[in-house]
Every structure is written in structure tokens, then in C-alpha cells.
Symmetry: C2
Subunit: 182 residues, 2 copies
DNA sequence: CCACCTCCGTACGGGACCGTATGGTCCGAC
DNA sequence: GTCGGACCATACGGTCCCGTACGGAGGTGG
């Protein structure tokens, strides 16, 4: 049987994370998925916590920045916002890891990652609202609002998909509301 | 040592749920909290799942309706909305159970409870927006938006409290945005 | 071809939790 | 006062996961 790398482990851990949450990032089940044994895991990582940490950091690195890069591919600020929200409403599987991570925010390994990602995203949104012509402090609050909606929608999408069935209309309503003046 | 009732068990389970999530609703730890043994638990409930189910149903019964009743104590629709959002931003501990339940929405025991609570709350919000003069379909979308913000704020409040530090301003911005006219 | 390092399999002990079996205690009914 | 049922403690076996110890396979440099 072939050798495994660190990335093999964090890769399968990411899939497990999406499906079963932080608790599913467990050495023995993951070893089974990989067709390996714990021996490999404890070679690449000192313990389960280190594996989880590496997995979360990989997610933070790849996933968060990927979305921002995608959004930056268009130039008009409003179009960026639209693309951003469309991305969430698109598919629930997309934000499965997202929700799993958020759900375990009290875990000492997870907390700092969540804090960094949150800060990064709201900061980016703030820039967008400044570009849309809002004052700095208003922009900050709109950013928090927009991100709250993002999180809430993701939750609703997986908890009660029928509620967010009329996606196109909901998307436009979201944009209109969040960019409304005075 | 005194006898325990079903409510003693669901009571301590609710506390555990708020602190450690669904996974913390475990028979043996709860027995320790109660100063009892598993014997008592397996007398009142056939298994752990039944205990969890009873706990969630108690939460659904008491908590969700309690908030709606509180909100109904004022008459003006906008004031109701304000009170509703103020309740979340008030304290994070208040919505700890909320987040714990949401986090485990893929659990077969949890899912139907979440579905019912979601439906109930969005329905109530829809009524509020109708009272505020919105058309039925717009009201429904505003309700979904408002509930998304509610969920997102709760999440942010426990994940990154500093982000939602300016509560008063954020509350007013939320209200203004969510009730803005086309 | 051998010494060595990397990577992994195997085997073990331990902890947390589930669920069952069984016997004991308390308390009201009669 | 004893009998039956409600309630609980104790003790046990089973599962799943963690982490450690150790030896063996495979490639690589000398």
C-alpha cells in the first residue's frame, strides 16, 4: 500500500469534517477511510488535536481566500456582493465545513480560526460597503449585518431548505435591503 | 437521597446542552451532576435518545413560546421587532442552547425540532411584517432575512463578541435595514 | 550489501459512554 | 404488617476512540 502524506490526512479530515463535524475528525475512522492504520497518523501528527488544527488551518487558507479571489474577479462592488451571496445560496454542501466549524466554536482549537476568518471576512465586506459610498462606521455595521445574513442563510439552507426556496428573489431582496440608504 | 423526576433529568440536560452541545447530553455525566446513577435515568427514559428528545421538546415548548409571549406584551409592530432583536443581542448565554441545537441539525432527533421551531418563528415574523404594511410575499422574504440576521448575530455574539460590540447602533441599523421600503 | 532513516502495521492498555441485569429500599394500599 | 410497585444503586459486558510501544518493510547513501 502507498505511503500517505500530511495532506492526505488533512484532505480526508476535511471531508469528514463536512459530514460529521469536528467530532468526526477522529484518527481511527479516518485511518479506515484512507486504508491505513493509526500508525501513519501518529507519525505525521503528534496527536489528534494537531491533526484537527492542521485541517482547520488548511480550510482557512484554501477556502476563505478562494471565495474572496472569486469575488474579486468582477469589478463592480454591487456585483461582488451579489456574487458573494449567490455563492452561499448555491449549494448547502459548499458551506457544510463552514457550519461544522462554526458549530464547534467553543473548542479551543477551533476558536482562534473562527476569530481570524470572521475578522477577515467582515473586513472585506466593510471595504465593499465603503466602495458603495457608505461612511466608514456605517459600512462596518452593514458589513456585520451582511455577514450575519450570510451565516444565517447558510444555517437555514441546511436546516430548513424549503424556507429559502425562492432563492433568486431572496437574493435580490437581500441586496436591496443591505444596501438601502437612510 | 431524594427521588428524581423526569423534569429533573431534562432540566440538568438543558444546562449540559447549553454548555457542551448535544454530545454533552450523556447519561453518565448527567447522573453525576444529579448525584444519582444511571439506574435512575434508565428508569425514566428507555435510552439516551429518548432523554435527548424529551429535553429538546421541553426547550421547544418553553423557550420558543416564551420569547413570542414576551414580544406580544408590547403592541406596536416595530417595537415588537426591536424587542425581539434586543433579546438576542442582550446576552450570549441566552442563546447558548439555541446554537447547540442548531449545530446538531443533522442529528435525526434534532432535525424535526429545528424544522418546527424555524417554521414557527419565521411565520411569526411574517405576521409582523404584514402588520408593518408589507405585501404577503415581501413580508415572507423579510421574515426570512430577519431570522437569518437573528441566527447570524447569535453566532457572531458567541464566536467574535468584539465584532458586535456596538450593540445599540447595530440594533437600530438592523431595524432600519430590515424595514426599508423598496 | 549493509546501515540507516522514513513510514507504517500490529498489539496493547486506558478512558468515556452505552445499555442490561439484578437486587434492594421506600411507601402507600388493604 | 405484608405486599406490590415505583424508584434507584451496583456491577457488568460491549463499543469506540485515544495514545504508546515496538518491530518490520522499503528506499537511499556510503
Amino acid at each position: 500500500m502507498a505511503r500517505r502524506t500530511r495532506d492526505d490526512w488533512t484532505g480526508v479530515a476535511l471531508r469528514a469534517l463536512a459530514e460529521g463535524g469536528v467530532a468526526a475528525v477522529a484518527v481511527e475512522p479516518l485511518a479506515a477511510r484512507l486504508g491505513a492504520t493509526k500508525g501513519s497518523a501518529y507519525w505525521h501528527f503528534p496527536n489528534r488535536e494537531a491533526l484537527l488544527k492542521a485541517t482547520l488551518e488548511r480550510w482557512e487558507r484554501e477556502h476563505t481566500e478562494a471565495v474572496i479571489e472569486l469575488v474579486e474577479s468582477v469589478s463592480e462592488p454591487l456585483a461582488k456582493l451579489r456574487l458573494l451571496f449567490a455563492k452561499v445560496l448555491e449549494n448547502a454542501g459548499h458551506s457544510a465545513v463552514e457550519l461544522a466549524v462554526l458549530a464547534a466554536e467553543d473548542d479551543p482549537v477551533v476558536a482562534p480560526v473562527v476569530a481570524r476568518v470572521t475578522e477577515r471576512r467582515i473586513g472585506y465586506l466593510r471595504e465593499l460597503f465603503v466602495l458603495l459610498g457608505f461612511d466608514a462606521d456605517v459600512a462596518r455595521r452593514r458589513a456585520v449585518l451582511a455577514y450575519s445574513i450570510y451565516l444565517g442563510q447558510a444555517q437555514l439552507l441546511s436546516a430548513a431548505p424549503d424556507v429559502v426556496a425562492a432563492r433568486r428573489l431572496l437574493l435580490e431582496e437581500t441586496l436591496a435591503v443591505v444596501t438601502s440608504r437612510g
